[in-house]
């Protein structure tokens, strides 16, 4: 199968969906031909679809997300790019009070088929306003779907599903996965929400990892294989809805669970997955569930501190070894 980059996979998904459905439009800062998106996800799209459908917005996050909500309620299918995940915080009212609740508040009359995509995560010394992982905030809000693809394959299939979703989707892309490559078929495919993916099979312990941590965990699993520990890596891919069955079946099989995400551990989604495992697979556990996440700090600027506050393969490996006797 051909290999393409994550950023290219996303670009293809946008292009195919815009070709398929003339109601799909793009909104965002610097997504047009001059800049092509801060991380180049929208490269070449204005050239194909024109400035009416690829709309470069002013720096007005709350208002252009709100504009997307209104457009979605009335028949368009906006895909909104927020230049950095941290900047979502400027649009919280439109996302949480408007988009998420619109169907409910209107007694089922309104649909808000909007996708809000955003790059997130640390690793480039972008400092505290450009590096956070905020996905857990949105998992708390009824009405939102929360997607966090880790590979080019998952990114393309899930973005296409997101664009066809009739409910609002928060779509988190890790900045430092954009340039990673992986197999993506030429033929069209969709990935349904709520289906976790087993990235590596194993029998001694399950790592449930998201986004960049999937890459780290795969690396660790490969290393540990040589040391005689068999690790299974499960990527939920969508946090809401969560594929409880695949995750809990895996834990039932291995008897041990380590949950890893880049976001600050406290209040992170690992707590929710822990609760789910306790509900579904408690009797099968051979060891306490362990979680590993970011330290409780903003993301610092300087490279050594920035690395220090988020989980890395070394720390993941250490946590696995502590759990497997």
């Amino acid at each position: 199968m051909r290999e393409i980059k994550y950023v290219e996979a996303l670009n293809e998904a946008l292009k195919e969906e815009m070709e398929r459905d003339p109601d799909v439009i793009l909104l965002g800062e610097d997504i047009g031909k001059e800049w092509q998106g801060a991380f180049k996800v929208t490269k070449g799209l204005e050239e194909i679809f024109g400035p009416e459908r690829v709309r470069n917005t002013p720096i007005s996050e709350n208002s252009f997300v709100g504009c997307g909500v209104g457009a979605a309620m009335t028949g368009l299918k906006p895909v909104v790019e927020i230049m950095f995940g941290d900047l979502i915080l400027l649009a919280m009212d439109q996302i949480i009070n408007q988009a998420a609740k619109m169907r409910y508040m209107s007694g089922g009359q309104a649909s808000v088929p909007i996708v809000i995509r955003t790059p997130f995560g640390s690793g480039g010394s972008y400092a505290s306003h450009h590096s956070q992982s905020l996905e857990a905030l949105f998992t708390h809000i009824p009405g939102l779907i929360v997607v966090q693809p880790s590979t080019p394959y998952d990114a393309k299939g899930l973005l296409k599903t997101a664009i066809r979703s009739i409910d609002p989707v928060m779509f988190f892309e890790h900045k430092f996965i954009y340039k990673k490559s992986g197999p993506v078929p030429e033929d069209e495919y969709l990935i349904p929400f709520g289906e976790a993916d087993i990235k590596i099979e194993g029998s001694d312990l399950t790592i449930i990892a998201t986004s960049m941590m999937v890459w780290h965990s795969i690396k660790v699993a490969k290393e540990l294989k040589n040391e005689g520990i068999s690790v299974e890596v499960v990527d939920p891919r969508t946090l809401v809805p969560l594929d409880k069955k695949t995750i809990s079946d895996s834990v039932k099989k291995t008897g041990r669970a380590l949950i890893v995400h880049e976001a600050v551990s406290r209040g992170g989604f690992s707590g929710e997955i822990t609760k789910m495992i306790i509900d579904e697979a408690f009797d099968y556990l051979d060891a306490p569930i362990k979680t590993l996440g970011g330290l409780p700090t903003p993301i610092p600027f300087t490279p050594n501190l920035e690395k220090f506050v988020v989980p890395d393969p070394k720390r993941i490996k250490k946590a696995v070894i502590e759990l497997v006797p």
Partner: protein, 326 residues
Amino acid sequence: MDEDLTDPQLLQMFEIMYKIRQFELTAYDLLGQNMIPGTLHTYAGEEAVATGVCLNLTDEDYVSSTHRGHGHCIAKGADINKMMAELFGKKTGYCKGKGGSMHITDFKVGMLGANGIVGAGIPIAVGAGLTCKLKYPGRVSVAFFGDGASNQGTFHESINLAAAWNLPVIFVCENNLYAMGTDIRKVTANPNIADRAIGYGIKGIIADGMDVLDVYKKAKEAIEHARNGGGPTLLECKTYRIKGHSRYDPALYRPKEEVEEWMKRDCITNFKEKILIGEKHIDQNVIHEIEQKIIRQIEQAVNFAKESPFPENSSALEDVYAEDLK
């Protein structure tokens, strides 16, 4: 030109602008060499704005800044050693390496911080203006922000509030025509941001942001108005950046003729040649000495930054709360 200004004052203006320019060109170089991690946004080209405004301020007055904040820091009197060390991510930097370019802050000189969020500094300056009004009458607060930021809700909400409460805040829009690759004329129908002032019931003034004397004079008027209880002013400075927006931006979205046109108006070269030498007949050696002094200071700052240590990992957990939460 303004007859009130003495030769030493004019030379001071030159020195500050030159210092910002050298700091920025040096930092940009070091960024290219990856001595500075992450990204930074240079103020090169826009020096007349920060310089002309801040020369009317004291350390007691406040400024809030932007992602393009080095010029505001220097004009407000920040220490370039600590600034450079922060850009390098060193322990001796203003933020102990935790902030970097976009978060440099110096409370000692009233610099409330650069800011990574476009438009977020504007309400912060309004809050500082409220402090001035309630606790320190006579002090003022300045919000620097870009043309792009003027389309944030915070612009509207902040000016409205400051006007309604008659706060001593000067809103300085640095209109360099672009927000990253977005031409302001494509996202705003009226390219004169100052025209919006009338809607808030305050005065809007346009200054030539390439002319430090024009900025100085118009800022002086606005700042004195605020100090005397007259309330806010919206001061728009038309300016232009020399470099791209940040790292890796060749700025190809700017037409060549437009760039050339603005480069001819360079605030430092013109001020030096037309005013200092042409009108004031200041000895070129005096100017040259200032330039050499600044170049040495910048070299020292770079050495200071290079020789300083990175922070210890354990410091990552400090400064999250005032005291450790157990």
